[in-house]
């Protein structure tokens, strides 16, 4: 019997996911090697074995590795949040940045910092900001029946600019010394101690949830009523997606500011390569999102060295044209 077409695509998918899996350590290795100081790997290994301190070891393990790991986690979180939001809103243009989710998280996090709340509550404030912002998109953009693309995007854009205004306001009333570092953080900054265990756990948990629910995600993407008629508990699944996407966005924003378009670009590329089946799309997007942001972070440090570019600037350079292209193509197909 002719099983060749599905067999071939399954084999290709496995190959693509394998390649992406290999790309992650390769990108990490590149990221820790590249920079203003060339790395002597013999020194690094020597220190790792003997414990005798060396500059090379410090640069690689204490400076560059945490940044690369942060970029990996942020990229993976944003890509997964993008996939989930696109299913939730049934729109391939949905993305935490475009719809103002990141903005909400950033504004609330900033507010928590300015009020002087303790470090832990900044993450909580960011989560509340992300989910509150998503909730607003939900309530305001839901027209009759299904999501209208125009309304959804308009609502998201208005919210995003509203958050932007709030952020500008908060920055202008804060002490001038804080402003520059906050601005840098908002545009995507990876200085710091790495992602931390909580974010790794959140990423692992969210990935597991998405993989277990992947067939449900497929059905939900085909339509809410259709999914319900096929036995999916759509209300609880959508709630789960909502919470997961909100937490992932908050985790990314609190670590590295609002980096745009990863959640848009990565799932879009992966849909073209591995297809729309979430059993593959979820994993492929997480791997590519992570690797891509590691490489972007490396570029941000090295392209205009010693100057460092905000990572969000680079992702926006790629994301904005793609978004406009998708918007144009999408409107053409719905107009016809």
């Amino acid at each position: 019997m002719s099983n060749t077409s599905s067999y071939r695509s399954a084999r290709r998918t496995r190959w693509v996911i394998g390649m992406l899996g290999a790309l992650v350590p390769v990108s990490m290795l590149l990221a820790v090697s590249a920079g203003s100081v060339p790395v002597d790997w013999a020194q690094v290994l020597e220190t790792a074995r003997t414990g005798v301190p060396s500059l090379d070891y410090t640069v690689v393990v204490e400076l560059r590795l945490p940044r690369a790991a942060s970029a990996l986690v942020v990229g993976a979180c944003l890509a997964l949040a993008g996939v989930l939001m696109q299913v939730l809103l049934r729109n391939p243009l949905a993305d935490p940045y475009v719809l103002g989710t990141s903005g909400g998280a950033a504004a609330m996090a900033l507010m928590a910092i300015l009020i002087g709340l303790p470090y832990q509550s900044v993450s909580i404030a960011a989560s509340i900001g992300a989910m509150g912002s998503m909730m607003l998109v939900f309530v305001l953009a839901r027209g009759q029946g299904d999501w209208s693309s125009t309304r959804l995007l308009l609502t998201g854009i208005v919210l995003a600019s509203g958050w932007g205004a709030l952020i500008s306001f908060l920055l202008s009333i804060s002490q001038s010394t804080q402003v520059f570092s906050m601005l840098f953080w908002l545009m995507g900054d990876f200085r710091g101690d790495g992602p931390g265990a909580a974010r790794w756990l959140l990423l692992a948990g969210s990935l597991t949830f998405s993989l277990i629910m992947s067939r449900g995600l497929n059905l939900l993407a085909a339509g809410e009523l259709k999914a319900e008629s096929l036995g999916v508990h759509t209300l609880s699944l959508r709630l789960g997606i909502f919470l997961t996407a909100g937490l992932l966005t908050a985790a990314a924003v609190t670590l590295a500011g609002a980096i745009g378009f990863v959640g848009l670009v990565v799932p879009h590329m992966m849909r073209m390569i591995v297809g729309t089946d979430h059993r593959r799309l979820v994993l492929a997007s997480v791997l590519l999102g992570g690797a891509l942001l590691v490489l972007t972070e490396m570029l941000a440090r090295t392209v205009l060295a010693p100057r460092q570019l905000p990572v969000g600037v680079i992702t926006a350079f790629v994301g904005v044209p793609l978004f406009l292209y998708l918007l144009r193509r999408g409107s053409r197909s719905t107009d016809s």
Partner: protein, 255 residues
């Protein structure tokens, strides 16, 4: 035992009441058509029967069990529905789209089996879609998409099949041919079909019984020969219709 039974059913949405005190007994192997003007609540009734809209009164039983007592999964194994105009957003392949119909039968941890694949391919061939497996839905014509939807419905293999305008977008050839083959399959398998139809003559040709929704909750039901009268249908569409005999059949034509 009846495949689907309603007692004193009231269904509607907003100010529209599709039916009031509706008592239906749909037997296995029967084909019913629901007829009515635009906006009388045909689709609402279908969604209510599918358990996707809360009913306003009465009850619905599927194979003797109240619809509300079935888990979602059990319900999806007994009752399937074809929607009127499903929108396509993501470039899902034809094969994946038809495979969604197997969802209620695939247990949580196991993937799709060889049997699922076989069923999907069988229905694709039957719908004239062999070789379309890897095509993305947005690249298909309206009629081709309709056939994909019908194939997905067929692989769900439920006792009760609900269809909202199944031959929407289809060419005349496919309208007749697909209704013929699908309904024959389902009749033989003892599956009961309730479909919302726009074309009276097509409905009469393929149904055993008709359910007329007059609006404001008034209904009329029975064997095609008993219900399809000039008087009833002229009232139903608020337009005079004339009945023309044609061989052993007859057809209606608006005056």
């Amino acid at each position: 035992m009846s495949a689907l039974r309603t007692e004193g059913l009231e269904a509607g949405v907003g100010k529209v009441t599709a039916c009031r005190d509706l008592n239906l007994v749909v037997k296995p192997g029967e084909v019913w058509s629901v007829l009515g003007r635009n906006g009388v609540g045909k689709s609402t009734l279908l969604l209510t029967l599918a358990g996707l809209k809360p009913l306003r009164g009465g009850q619905i039983q599927v194979e003797g069990t109240a619809l509300g007592d079935l888990s979602r999964r059990e319900r999806a194994r007994r009752l399937s529905i074809l929607f009127q105009n499903p929108d396509v957003i993501f470039p899902t392949t034809v094969f994946e789209a038809v495979m969604t119909g197997r969802h209620p039968w695939i247990s949580g941890w196991k993937g799709t089996s060889a049997n699922d694949t076989l069923l999907v391919r069988e229905q694709l061939t039957r719908m004239g879609l062999a070789g379309f497996e890897a095509r993305a839905l947005p690249t298909l014509s309206g009629g081709e998409r309709r056939r994909v939807d019908l194939a997905a419905l067929a692989v769900q293999q439920t006792t009760v099949v609900l269809m909202d305008e199944p031959v929407n977008h289809l060419d005349l050839h496919y309208q007749v041919q697909l209704l013929q083959t699908l309904l024959e399959d389902w009749r033989q398998a003892g599956q009961a079909v309730i479909m919302v139809m726009h074309d009276i003559n097509l409905a009469m040709r393929f149904s055993d019984r008709l359910l007329l929704l007059y609006g404001d909750g008034e209904t009329c039901q029975g064997l095609v020969a008993d219900v399809a009268t000039e008087e009833n249908l002229s009232r139903l569409y608020q337009h005079a219709l004339h009945r023309y005999p044609a061989g052993g059949h007859s057809f209606f034509w608006p005056l």
